[in-house]
Amino acid sequence: MTCDHSAIVQHAWVIPALPLLSFALVGLVLRPLNARLAGAVAAAAVALSAALGWWLAFDYLQFAPPAEPLPTLIPWQVEWLRFQDGLRIDAGTLLDPASVLLVVVVTTVSALVHVYSLAYMKGEPGYGRYFAVLNLFTFSMLGLVLAPNLVQMFVCWELVGASSFFLIGFWYDRPAAVAASKKAFVVTRFADLGLLLAILLLGQAAFDVRTQLGASAGDSQALDFAFLGRADVLAALAHQAPVLGGMTALTLGCLLLFVGGAGKSAMFPLHIWLPDAMEGPTPVSALIHAATMVVAGVYLVARAFPLLAAADGVLTVVLAVGTFTALFAAAIGCTQDDLKRVLAFSTLSQLGYMMLALGTCGGGDPAGRSAALFHLFTHAFFKALLFLGAGAVLHAAHTGDVWHLGGLRRKMPLTHALFLLATLAIAGIWPLSGFFSKDEVLAAALHGGHPLVFAVGLGVAGLTAFYMARVYLLVFWGEPRREASAHVHEAPLTMVLPMGALAVLAAVAGFVPVSRWVALPGTAEHAGIDWLVAGPATAAALAGFGAAGWLYGGDLGRSDAAVARLGRLYGALRHKFWIDELYLWVARKVMFRLVAAPIAWFDRMVVDGTMHGVGLLTRLCGAGVQAAQTGQAQAYAAWALAGGLAVVGLLWAAGRAG
């Protein structure tokens, strides 16, 4: 089967184009006219996109018999920017197993979240605006995923950040939401600067290599992923002269690339924006801050993987940051009170897991990359389900504080069952999806020669089970602790159905052989379940469940006693190790005083001073000339006469001279 035989592979650009069209239609035309129609059109467009995404995946998988690797295709691209030969930027669609996988994840979760939002956002003043921006986000994310070069990826990367900003700050009359959206934007923008620098640096280095290669470079462009992944190019990049501090452009560029990815994927120490981003509407948290946008950093690292693997030590940095974030965020997640914040820290921790998996590939076996993408795939479904479940709770009880909730399982049986399924999935209980992907991540760590990382991963698996069981028990078991949670009602069908669909996906996603499809050449095959890994991981999860059950299942006095015994450590965890305060201190005391204040002085005194001086001079000149403007017609007539005489005199003099 070739590319020409499949209409959808040929025209994969339709998948991102639909949400973009719908964004324009909903945002410009329908929003002021009819909010309900706007929501319906937006949801329909993305649902159609999702259908096409599944069709694309189905057709794409026909390309190769199982023994062969799936091809990398660029069925459609147009010239967009031409700097010079070899540095042309195209807009196009790159189809390879990873991008097709992400297309399916993004369109599916987005479509379900759109449907869910139809009920969840009912009656909100900004209903149409909400759906328009959600469409814009879906388009940007798909453009990012399908990008054949770093520049298209960067443009969509920024668009994704902008839509995230709009959606976190959706309730712009709430100061907390405004502050959170600003924080997310500033932190991710700061990290995006790293990505931009990486693009410039790698672009220049790759362009030099392309010039050296001469004719063998063919039509490939310096910033195309296809070019950057070629073995001869990587070898040439690795042998370039160091540019800064003994690092080659490749190493430095990959480090900066990872800074960009770490910002979007909220890796420590750039994680501070994600918990605050929970101020946005909950479906937004499910789509953007759990399933899709935050995995963009993981996707970037996976996409640029050949580069990072060729650069010295970058994967070790990825490994260290990922492992630390996984542990750090899971520990904090155990102490938070707000349901959504627990889920946010859980997301951080799981993203750390994915990064950790990518980082284990330093030894040369890219099994970790497959594991990361597999975990990305399964995590999208069960985490989105958890968030939508939390949304249903919030929708009914109007509070997310776990200490105000309780006993919801009787009033919301469907939500309870779905949330329980997602909890088991994230904890990695067989046969749900989290079990398989977590198993692969841990196996990659163990077989990649990182026993310490493996041990930390096991610990994180235990903590994950613990904090999820903790919120699950506090929210759904026991008795209602406040009036609000006593009179809740089950979520409407429009909300339950998307959650049901996600639950099915979260349950079966583990059986999809994703990691075999996305495997790079040279990945070691490993068949079946590795019980050396899965055994301890399941034991850790069960231990986490057991501990949570003992502390929160019955007498809550036990948890108070445990908190008292932990003392200082508990305080540190609860305050998230004071990282936010540290940032504020650095920003206020260091940056404002030492950098911003002198610049402000320079601006006021030197820049403004010059401008004021010019203004003063102009005013003085004006005052001088003003005297001539008396308002006396005769004075003007005299001036006119004098002018006329002067002209005549000049002509006369010119006539004599000539």
């Binding site: 008396t630 308002g631 006396q632 017609a633 005769q634 007539a637 005299a638 006469l641």
Partner: protein
């Protein structure tokens, strides 16, 4: 008279002196008179100087044609129309300000003070 006019360069120079003097008197009045009507009269002198000059040039340079005389008639017509418009303005001005002294006409004046019509 026509023969005198057309009697060569000397006659033309004499006429130029006359019209220049007339025009200069007009300009002097234009710049120095304070009464608007006086300024208008001075302006008429300037226009008349130009009209006379048209006739003179017509008689000296192209005696067989009437272009200059026609222009002179135009000047007379324009001056008449101009006087009508200007005098109407002066009358209104006087009724508002009780003066047609152009040096007193700066600012909004009493006619506009307090928004009175």
């Amino acid at each position: 008279m026509a023969e005198n006019l057309a009697s060569g360069a000397t006659g033309l120079h004499a006429w130029l002196l006359v019209t220049s003097a007339l025009f200069s008197v007009g300009v002097y009045g234009l710049l120095t008179r304070r009464n608007a009507v006086g300024i208008l009269l001075s302006l008429e002198l300037c226009l008349n100087a130009a009209a006379v000059q048209f006739v003179v040039f017509n008689a000296v340079r192209a005696p067989a044609r009437v272009d200059g005389a026609v222009m002179a008639l135009f000047v007379v017509a324009v001056a008449a129309a101009e006087v009508v418009v200007a005098m109407a303005i002066f009358v209104l001005l006087y009724s508002r300000r009780r003066t047609v002294d152009v040096t007193d006409l700066t600012g909004d004046g009493p006619g506009h003070a307090g928004g009175a019509p």
